[in-house]
C-alpha cells in the first residue's frame, strides 16, 4: 500500500481538548451553592443510612422517656409513646429518599424514552404523544395520586407510591428530552447512522439518549426533589407510607397536632424535607449550568 496509507498518523490533536466530563466537573465545582448543597446532601444520606448503625435507638424502640424535649440522650426529643425522634427521622429519611429515587428513576426512564421517540419521529406521532403529556401535566398530581393510592393498589408498599408518582412526573422529563432530541436529530452523525442502516431503536438508544445525557441528569435530579415533596404530601394525606414503618411525610403528618405543644416532633422531620428538596434543587441548578456549553462563567 502507498506511503500515506501505510504511515500511521500517530500524533493526536495539537491542542488536546478536555473530556466533556472533565469540563462539566470543573464548571460544577465553580458553582458554590451547588457544591455546598451536594456536601449537605451527602451528610443527610449518611445520617439516614449510616446513622442507624451507630445510634443507640432503633425507630421501633419504645423508650421510657415520654414526650421529652430535645436533650443529649434524645437530640430530637421523643414522642408520646417514647419513640426516639432522631431514630424515627433517620428511618423516615431512608424511606423518603428511597421512594424519591425510585420516582426519579421511573419518571426519567419513561420520560426520556417518550421524549426521544416523540422528538425523533416528529409529525403526527409527536403531536399525539405531546398532547398526552399536556393532559398528564394538567392533572392535579397529588389529588390523582391520592385517589389512586387510596384504592390500595399494591397495598401501601413503598414502591406502589413510587410507581404512582413516577407515572405522574415523567411528562416533565419527556418535554425536556424531546427538546434536546429535536436539535440532535438534525445533526450529521444521526444521518451518518441512518446511512449505515441503523434503525430507530438503535438511533434512540445508542445516539440520541447518550447525547442527551446531560439534560437527562439535570431533570432527573430535579425530579428527586419533586419526589421527596410528593411522597411527603401523600403520606401527609394518609395514603402514603403506613405505620409502623415511617417516612418524613408520615412523621410530619402524625405530629402536626403537636406543632404547638411538642414542636420538635413536627419541625425536625419538616426540616429534613426542606433540606433535601433545597439541596437537590441547587445540585440540579449546578449541573444544568455545568452541562451548558455556553456557560463560561458561573454566577458566584
Amino acid at each position: 500500500m502507498s506511503d500515506t496509507a501505510a504511515r500511521p498518523v500517530t500524533e493526536t490533536f495539537a491542542v488536546r481538548e478536555r473530556k466533556q466530563s472533565e469540563l462539566v466537573f470543573r464548571r460544577f465545582l465553580r458553582h458554590r451553592a451547588a457544591v455546598t448543597s451536594l456536601l449537605l446532601f451527602v451528610l443527610v444520606v449518611l445520617f439516614a443510612y449510616v446513622g442507624p448503625l451507630l445510634w443507640k435507638y432503633s425507630y421501633t424502640d419504645i423508650t421510657d422517656d415520654l414526650s421529652r424535649s430535645p436533650s443529649l440522650t434524645h437530640p430530637f426529643g421523643t414522642d408520646l409513646i417514647g419513640h426516639d425522634t432522631m431514630a424515627q427521622v433517620m428511618r423516615g429519611t431512608q424511606q423518603s429518599l428511597k421512594i424519591a429515587l425510585a420516582i426519579a428513576l421511573i419518571g426519567t426512564v419513561l420520560g426520556a424514552l417518550w421524549g426521544a421517540i416523540a422528538g425523533l419521529y416528529r409529525g403526527r406521532l409527536d403531536f399525539l404523544m405531546m398532547r398526552i403529556v399536556d393532559i398528564v401535566l394538567t392533572l392535579p398530581t397529588i389529588a390523582v395520586a391520592a385517589a389512586v393510592a387510596a384504592q390500595g393498589v399494591g397495598g401501601s408498599q413503598w414502591w406502589s407510591i413510587a410507581v404512582i408518582l413516577g407515572a405522574l412526573t415523567w411528562p416533565y422529563v419527556s418535554r425536556v428530552v424531546r427538546g434536546v432530541v429535536l436539535s440532535l436529530r438534525e445533526q450529521e452523525f444521526i444521518e451518518a447512522a441512518r446511512a449505515l442502516g441503523a434503525g430507530n431503536p438503535r438511533i434512540i438508544l445508542r445516539h440520541l439518549l447518550p447525547n442527551a445525557l446531560g439534560a437527562i441528569i439535570v431533570v432527573a435530579t430535579l425530579t428527586i426533589a419533586t419526589g421527596i415533596l410528593g411522597e411527603a404530601a401523600l403520606s401527609f394525606l394518609g395514603v402514603g407510607v403506613q405505620a409502623p414503618d415511617t417516612s418524613l411525610g408520615l412523621l410530619v403528618s402524625i405530629n402536626r397536632d403537636a406543632v404547638n405543644t411538642r414542636p420538635w416532633l413536627f419541625y425536625f422531620p419538616g426540616l429534613f424535607i426542606i433540606l433535601i428538596a433545597l439541596t437537590i434543587n441547587f445540585v440540579g441548578d449546578g449541573l444544568r449550568d455545568a452541562f451548558d456549553p455556553k456557560q463560561t462563567r458561573v454566577r458566584q
Binding site: 506511503d3 500515506t4 504511515r7 498518523v9 500524533e11 490533536f13 495539537a14 491542542v15 488536546r16
Partner: protein, 333 residues
C-alpha cells in the same frame, strides 16, 4: 518609499486555564505605502491575532509586547479612544463575516454616507450620491436601488462589497483584510477580490491580505509572509516564495496543493502530522516534528529569519541553502 506600518517583535499571549497560549511569538514586518502584503499560514498559526493586535482589537486579557508603529507613531498601549481615531480612517479592516462590521438597523447607503461625511464636509445628498458611486465601483448591480437596502437583504458577497465601499469612503492608508472571501463561493470571491482591487486603485491604500488560499495570494499581493506556530517562517516577494521557497513548510504547502492548471495526476505531497500546540512549545524549530529535513540542531535551536539569496527574502530554517532548487516531492517523499 515611506514605511506605513512597522511591526517589531510583536508578541501576543493569552492566559488560559491550561497556561499561556503563545499565539504570536516575535513577529516583525513592514508595509510600505501602496504595498500589497499577503499573510498565509495554517489555521491557528496566528494570522488573525497579529492583525487584531495592529488594530488594537485584542481581547482585554491578551498580553501584548513589542511595537506597532503607524507612520512613525506607536499604536500599542493606546487607549481605545485614541485607537478608534486610527481605526476606520487611517486603517480599515475587513473581516471574514461582513455582518460584524455592518449595522443591521441602517441602510447600507446611510452607512456609507456616514463614513463619507466623517471625512469630507459635504451635504447629506452629496454623501448619498457618493455612496451610489462607491457601490458602483465595488460592482453592485443597480447601485441607486441598492443604497436603500438593509444588510440582511443582501447576500454575503454583496455585504462584503458594501464593507469595502465603506472602507473606501474612509480613504484609508492601509486596508487589512482578514480572510475576506473564505466564506464565499469562487465566483463571488472573484467579485469581491475585484472590488478590493478597485478600492486599492481608487484610494491608493496599501493592502494586507490574510488568507490560507495561496492562489489568492499569488494573484493579489506583491510580498508574502508565511506564518507557522505564531512566527514568520519565510518572507519575500511572491515570485521568490512561489518559485524558490527556502523553508520546508512553504515548500510542503505548495506541494500539497492540487492544481487546476495541471493535467494528469501528479501525486500530492502532504505534510504529515499537525501543527504544534501553542501551549508549551518544545525547544527548537516548531516545524521539526513534521519536517523530513530535520536534524539534531533543529531540536535544539529555533532558527531565526535569516537572509537567503536575496537580502529581503528571509527564511527561518537552519538549512535553507539546501532547499535552493529542491522540489516538494524530493523533500517530502
Amino acid at each position: 518609499m515611506t514605511v506605513l506600518l512597522e511591526v517589531d517583535d510583536l508578541t501576543v499571549g493569552f492566559p488560559t486555564e491550561d497556561g499561556l497560549v503563545q499565539a504570536v511569538r516575535g513577529v516583525s514586518y513592514q508595509v510600505s505605502r501602496g504595498d500589497s502584503v499577503g499573510i498565509v499560514g495554517e489555521s491557528g498559526s496566528g494570522k488573525s491575532v497579529t492583525s487584531l493586535a495592529v488594530m488594537g482589537l485584542l481581547p482585554r486579557n491578551a498580553r501584548v509586547s513589542g511595537s506597532v508603529r503607524f507612520l512613525g507613531e506607536e499604536l500599542l498601549g493606546r487607549s481605545d479612544e485614541q485607537m478608534s481615531k486610527v481605526r476606520g480612517s487611517k486603517i480599515a479592516m475587513i473581516f471574514q463575516d461582513p455582518l460584524t462590521s455592518l449595522n443591521p438597523v441602517y441602510t447600507v447607503g446611510s452607512q456609507i454616507a456616514e463614513a463619507v461625511r466623517a471625512h469630507k464636509d459635504v451635504t447629506r445628498q452629496q454623501a448619498m450620491k457618493r455612496a451610489v458611486d462607491l457601490l458602483d465601483v465595488v460592482g453592485i448591480p443597480n447601485p441607486s436601488l441598492r443604497v436603500n437596502s438593509y444588510p440582511h437583504e443582501m447576500s454575503g458577497g454583496m455585504r462584503q462589497r458594501v464593507v469595502i465601499a465603506i472602507a473606501m469612503a474612509n480613504d484609508p492608508e492601509l486596508i487589512i483584510a482578514d480572510e475576506p472571501t473564505t466564506a464565499l463561493d469562487v465566483t463571488v470571491q472573484a467579485q469581491v477580490l475585484e472590488a478590493l482591487e478597485a478600492a486599492r486603485k481608487e484610494t491608493g491604500a496599501a493592502l494586507m491580505l490574510i488568507t490560507h488560499d495561496l492562489g489568492v495570494i499569488a494573484g493579489h499581493t506583491d510580498r508574502v509572509n508565511v506564518m507557522y506556530a505564531g512566527k514568520l517562517v519565510e518572507t519575500g516577494t511572491v515570485d521568490e516564495i512561489f518559485y524558490g521557497p527556502r523553508m520546508p513548510y512553504t515548500l510542503g504547502l505548495l506541494g500539497s496543493l492540487p492544481r487546476i492548471d495541471e493535467s494528469g495526476r501528479p501525486r500530492l505531497t502532504p505534510i504529515t502530522g499537525s501543527p504544534p500546540s501553542l501551549l508549551n512549545l518544545p525547544a527548537g524549530c516548531p516545524f521539526r516534528p513534521r519536517c523530513p529535513k530535520a536534524r539534531d540542531l533543529c531540536a535544539e535551536v529555533e532558527p531565526e529569519l535569516t537572509p537567503t539569496a536575496d537580502r529581503r527574502h528571509l527564511a527561518a530554517c537552519h538549512f535553507h541553502s539546501e532547499l535552493a532548487s529542491a522540489t516538494a516531492e524530493e523533500v517530502f517523499s
